[in-house]
Subunit: 291 residues, 2 copies
């Protein structure tokens, strides 16, 4: 893991790293904001998964999250949205498939399966790497994301309920097996059996019994992709109601799909995660916290 | 004046406009954030002048200012950094001259003088336009900016002390007549007579007797352009000391020239301007405020 950039911000440091990923079989880039508090003790972390076409830089520049993370004393981890590089499969004619569009699944199909193992990368490889090297409390991590990254946050939490302390999402793709984006990309990454797709679909996972303490979702009502039925939070809400899954779905009049929407509500999401993370470390062994 | 985009953010609206500028003799683009408070009454405004290579979009996406402006109930005006367009002179081989690099002066030299009248545009034409159409209190405006835009903010305030209620800057070019950027661009825009340059140089203006109530400047000590002697806040500080000009120059260990530096301190700048603006409207005619 090599630090290629470090910028002071809110008394902490926003750094960018590259490393050789085993699961994705290529060099991966990610960013981390470490708050000032990490100078004296280990801190909890919040993973942010970005949407289609983004890399690790978009949210750290546009979301306005570092200010709140600095106040709360939590680290922010910004992974990339896919494997990258000249040797990594891509589809130049598609913004929603290939590089920048990994959909946070473990691909099973040629030619994607060699590199496109984003589910394992986000769930296991990256946390193990950063918790080993940075002042992060193991087992005190939460996850959030936007659009394709909101989908990623939901499935990462739902598939491993003990892995993340809390989950939230902005305008997530809630039911990819029923959206145009999801159908098109899942068939490429996962093949034609739509039963397999259900394993990476938040709505299906809830229908199939996955259960979390709580889920927070913000959705703008002037969001073009919401209105195009790409996001389908109503399907997720129905599944949660039917299965008794607690969900706080907030619909916001007039807000669109952009980072301006995210920046408006990111502070509330970070407070939500910080509370869950602080509760989770209350009873932890003091040695684990590194005080 | 035509609205080409409007995005909801922090309960207010971030909108982008185009209009035919008389002083710049071309179509100009700018953005405005109108806080929620402007729905019921006119609000004060803060002009933000961006740096080299920027347009009206950079600060509105990266600075994190809207959150604080929404809290304080002040509008943000984001002008472009130069005239633009196919018919507007440019220098493709230079990032620091031509489009994106107007230096907020009124050019006197060919071929620049037809369009490059940014001083008059920022000081007179744009305020008159937006105050006529939007819910802004006339005569309740302040100004800030970054790098070349910090220079712009300082000279706009110093040359017309009654035009803006308060001024601040992030890493401003404080003494362009002595910096490489300034020498190279002022000779293009203003000709070879360096006495003329003094009229657009904050340090020279203070030396020559301009006086303001107060000036706030933040400068990072890990800023490559500070270390390259492009910014020269020390010269400005000396002039202020000699002339009895009040200056709060804050030097910040470890901070660079980026928007991450700006985002760290923008909240304090907006509070500073909001206080000055609120004082300035205390004794205004209630009709002018449009309550």
């Amino acid at each position: 893991m090599k630090c290629i950039e470090s910028i002071k911000e809110f008394d902490g440091y926003l750094s960018r790293y590259t490393h050789d990923s085993i699961v994705c079989d290529c060099e991966m880039t990610f960013s981390v904001f470490m708050p000032m508090q990490a100078k004296s003790h280990k801190v909890p972390s919040l993973y942010w998964l970005s949407g289609l076409t983004c890399n690790d830089d978009n949210a750290r520049v546009k979301a306005g999250a570092q200010r709140y993370a600095a106040e709360q004393g939590i680290a922010l981890i910004f992974p990339d949205t896919s494997p990258r590089g000249e040797l990594v499969e891509d589809r130049d004619d598609r913004y929603d498939l290939g590089q920048g569009a990994g959909f946070y699944v473990n691909a099973t199909q040629e030619p994607w399966k060699i590199n496109y193992q984003m589910f394992d990368y986000i769930s296991y490889e990256l946390p193990a790497l950063v918790e080993n090297i940075l002042a992060l409390i193991p087992d005190a991590k939460s996850i959030s994301g936007h659009s394709m990254g909101g989908h990623g946050a939901l499935i990462c939490a739902l598939k491993n309920p003990t892995n993340f302390r809390s989950v939230s999402a902005f305008a997530p793709i809630c039911n990819p097996v029923k959206s145009a984006w999801g159908k098109s990309c899942f068939s490429e990454y996962l093949g034609d059996d739509s039963q397999v797709w259900r394993q990476y679909d938040a709505t299906c996972l809830v229908e199939d019994g996955a259960k979390l303490t709580n889920i927070l979702i913000d959705q703008g009502l002037a969001d073009e992709f919401y209105n195009d039925k790409q996001l389908l939070p109503e399907n997720f809400e129905t599944a949660c109601e039917q299965e008794g899954q607690k969900l706080n779905l907030r619909l916001h009049e007039g807000y669109d799909h952009s980072y301006h929407f995210i920046s408006t509500f990111i502070g509330e999401h970070i407070t939500y995660h910080a509370n869950a993370l602080k509760n989770s470390i209350k009873n932890m062994d003091i040695m684990k916290l590194g005080f």
